[in-house]
Symmetry: C2
Subunit: 474 residues, 2 copies
């Protein structure tokens, strides 16, 4: 079959740049699978409604369900299965690159991102994530390094310490404190004395490192202004499954809380101005849970992503000069739901598997079996398993055992510990006529590199321009 006549690598039928939003919100559910929404929706129907596997009824729609509009192709410049660095670079810059590379082409030359271009054109910018802020996806929008694991270099670029264009991110909320502390700090990951928190303060950043400092951003309202750097864990923020169980006064901010705070801060800084804001929000840890085949951690991070989408769509209804696009960078885990799968098996599971494995490893008491049954298995929804299963579960890698056991019970299958090559679903939302135009523009399938090109036109930006500037200062 000849396909040469078929649209190749372009946004099908789109009149590019026909919308002109003042503000753009880009949400990346890292690793979200086609099956993820089916799991979350069905779980809610059974946990909160009277749906059962033998009488499912009509499912409630997730906030993101109604926003589906097409698909994206996710392969990278050097692999049919991308990693988050190459996929992030594609979504941020409109260029394919190799797995592991951030903001550079295969030849090592930098390419500018939609966030950097927005900043250059007078927009305010934000990154809100649950991974370290220097992790692949946020890094793809704000740094240029050969190796995604150069977290320290990435942090330096993100805060404007060593970025060719200086400071380009006005709000950063997430995890990853350790890359910002000098090696004199006990929790630092750095090998040098560079103090990026200190540098940030010198540059006028409000720096938050815990719940109360985070709350102050909202409480202080007009008092606390951009730029803002809020990092609430040395590494990743907790899985939502674990975070929601933390004591309230020390509980880490959730992705939806950080989203609201960032929206308010960016809105306060721009609502009287011509230029608005560009914000990238990443539900970072859906991916991590899928790598670990942890169905419960996956579920709760998918639900939290949907809470973010609900907040953003309500925000857009109140601020109709704003448009949102959401798309996963790739699928993780190769999740499928064969006959017999049953989301009710996830009801009662409170925590992530690795958190429980850690608690078990730390236990020094006398009755390991009782502790394992009551404090480890029960909180993972496995309070009713047999003694022989208990023995198997607590030998070897406890976290992996719990995850595989719960997945097997729920009939959720994973085909890989890595990513897969399937297309990801594209979601978009704007209010009124802009919303209708967005559907007409974005319906269909797109290479992942086409998304920032569409935003470039819609936002009146120039990615080539920022690429040239980066290369002049490289």
């Amino acid at each position: 079959m000849k396909t040469s006549a078929v649209l190749a690598g372009t946004i099908a039928g789109a009149a590019m740049g026909t919308i002109a939003p003042k503000n753009v919100i880009f949400v990346v559910p890292d690793g979200l699978a086609p099956a993820s929404s089916t799991i979350a929706r069905t779980y809610l129907a059974m946990a909160e409604g009277d749906s059962t596997p033998s009488n499912p009824g009509i499912m409630p729609m997730l906030p993101v369900d109604a926003l589906a509009i097409g698909n994206t192709f996710t392969h990278s410049a050097n692999s049919l299965v991308t990693d988050s660095a190459a996929a992030g670079t594609a979504l941020a810059t409109g260029h394919k690159t190799g797995n592991g590379i951030l903001g550079l082409l295969l030849d090592g030359q930098p390419v500018g991102s939609i966030l950097e271009s927005a900043k250059l054109h007078g927009w305010k910018t934000g990154l809100v994530v649950t991974s370290p802020i220097s992790h692949a996806t946020p890094a793809a929008f704000s740094s240029h390094v050969q190796d995604r694991n150069n977290f320290n270099s990435i942090a330096e670029q993100q805060i404007g310490f060593s970025h060719p264009l200086n400071q380009s991110v006005d709000v950063m909320l997430g995890g990853g404190r350790c890359n910002f502390w000098p090696n004199t700090h006990s929790d630092s990951c750095r090998e040098d004395k560079i103090d990026l928190f200190g540098f940030a303060k010198e540059q006028g950043y409000y720096v938050a490192q815990n719940r109360s400092q985070f709350d102050d951003i909202e409480l202080g309202k007009g008092e606390i202004r951009l730029p803002i750097l809020g990092l609430f864990n040395d590494a990743d923020l907790h899985y939502e499954a674990d975070r929601k169980e933390q004591d309230e006064d020390v509980r880490e901010p959730s992705l939806s809380e950080m989203t609201e705070t960032a929206l308010n801060a960016l809105h306060r800084a721009t609502h009287c101005k011509d230029k608005g804001y560009f914000m990238m929000i990443e539900a970072s840890r859906i991916d991590h849970a899928s790598h670990a085949h942890d169905a419960n951690a996956h579920l709760w991070d998918v639900l939290e992503y949907n809470k973010v989408i609900e907040i953003v769509t309500q925000w857009i209804d109140e601020h109709p000069d704003t448009a949102m696009i959401s798309v996963a960078d790739h699928e993780t885990g190769g999740i499928t739901l064969p006959g017999g799968w049953d989301p009710r098996k996830l009801i009662g599971s409170k925590h992530s598997a690795p958190m429980l494995a850690e608690q078990y490893a730390a236990y020094e008491g006398d009755d390991k079996d009782a502790f394992f049954r009551e404090e480890i298995m029960a909180p993972y929804g496995l309070g009713d398993v047999s003694d022989s299963d208990l023995a198997e579960l607590k030998s070897g890698d406890v976290g992996a055992n719990l995850a595989e056991f719960l997945s097997a019970r729920a009939g959720i299958k994973w085909s890989t510990g890595g990513h897969s090559g399937v297309d990801t679903t594209l979601y978009a939302y704007a209010a009124g006529e802009m919303g209708e135009q967005l559907k007409v523009d974005l319906a269909g399938a797109h290479d992942n590199t086409d998304i920032p090109k569409y935003l470039e036109e819609a936002m009146g930006l120039d990615l080539e321009e920022v690429t040239e500037l980066l290369r002049e200062n490289w």
Copy 2:
């Protein structure tokens, strides 16, 4: 998270029935997976272009890619994983029913289909498939039985021999002759003497049972009029992988050929009239190939489905009073594409696995190993495997062995021999303003039962009315 405020079970944001097409084409790729398009697109890029796994480049778009617009939920009234009967009933009638049931609710009462309602309102109707015409999906649009395996009863209803509303299908093209022949015919599957081909002729049907009679429909043009019954195999039509290798003069009609012929016949019968046609086309055997984990048969039936979509979209551009919706009834096989998957391993594979297994079983010569290597493995793209692999391949279920071996080589993973519960992609197309309105109406996620409800409004039909008529005559 509360979801009660979120749209439940309705077409999100749709102003129902805002399009008013004269003709509607509904295409069901049975069992099409989210991964199916990724496989087909990438195969084409590598078989026909210079794409490789380590340098994939920008992929060509499949004809269906550009038409993605949302998703559908596929669960049935009694299972999270539907079968084709319940899913077909949902798509045809707007009602959930139990697995295995066709055109009836769980209480045994019939519900009318969009095809039956169209017929009642003066539209011409068509069913074009590659399975037996009495198989679940076409049967859901044209019959009402408790058990999808009652193929003989279904055939009787479809031809108007025993349907409560008499004859409702004007064009039927596909397989399944055996249910139409009386038990006096050597290839009959009937246990009675009912001759449905004879009955069809009495009712004025043009009956075609082979390639030359099929060709006559086109050659005869205006001479051969509706109704038309063309069945070209006793059971399923061949997989496209096998059909394309048949001798030209006896080659079964392909799904795309039957589509063109049906479109022309329906167009000739309606183009001077107020009312147009409703046609359901099913790429039936994507599903069968996935049940068998036969990656090559799957690939070629997915490519043929895309050829049908290409023909239909071109037809619509020339006949802009026509709208198309396409959606899979469910996913089959739980297909995923983990890192390392390589579609180049499918290049050179000509046939389906079961056809080759049949040829091997029929071989009566002396050199079984040579025959197996040259006539079985080579045409399945496995000409280069080791002697020990050869020994393994030819022991036990040869067809299954070949399929699993090729899938493993290509790195294509299947998680089940049955269906899975993931959402399926919704595709739609119309030209010009109707096309834009269709995108606005259908963007988002929908329960599968919402699709015929949307068509009911768009076509000005009344599903309740036909249901009442059916019940009066039940």
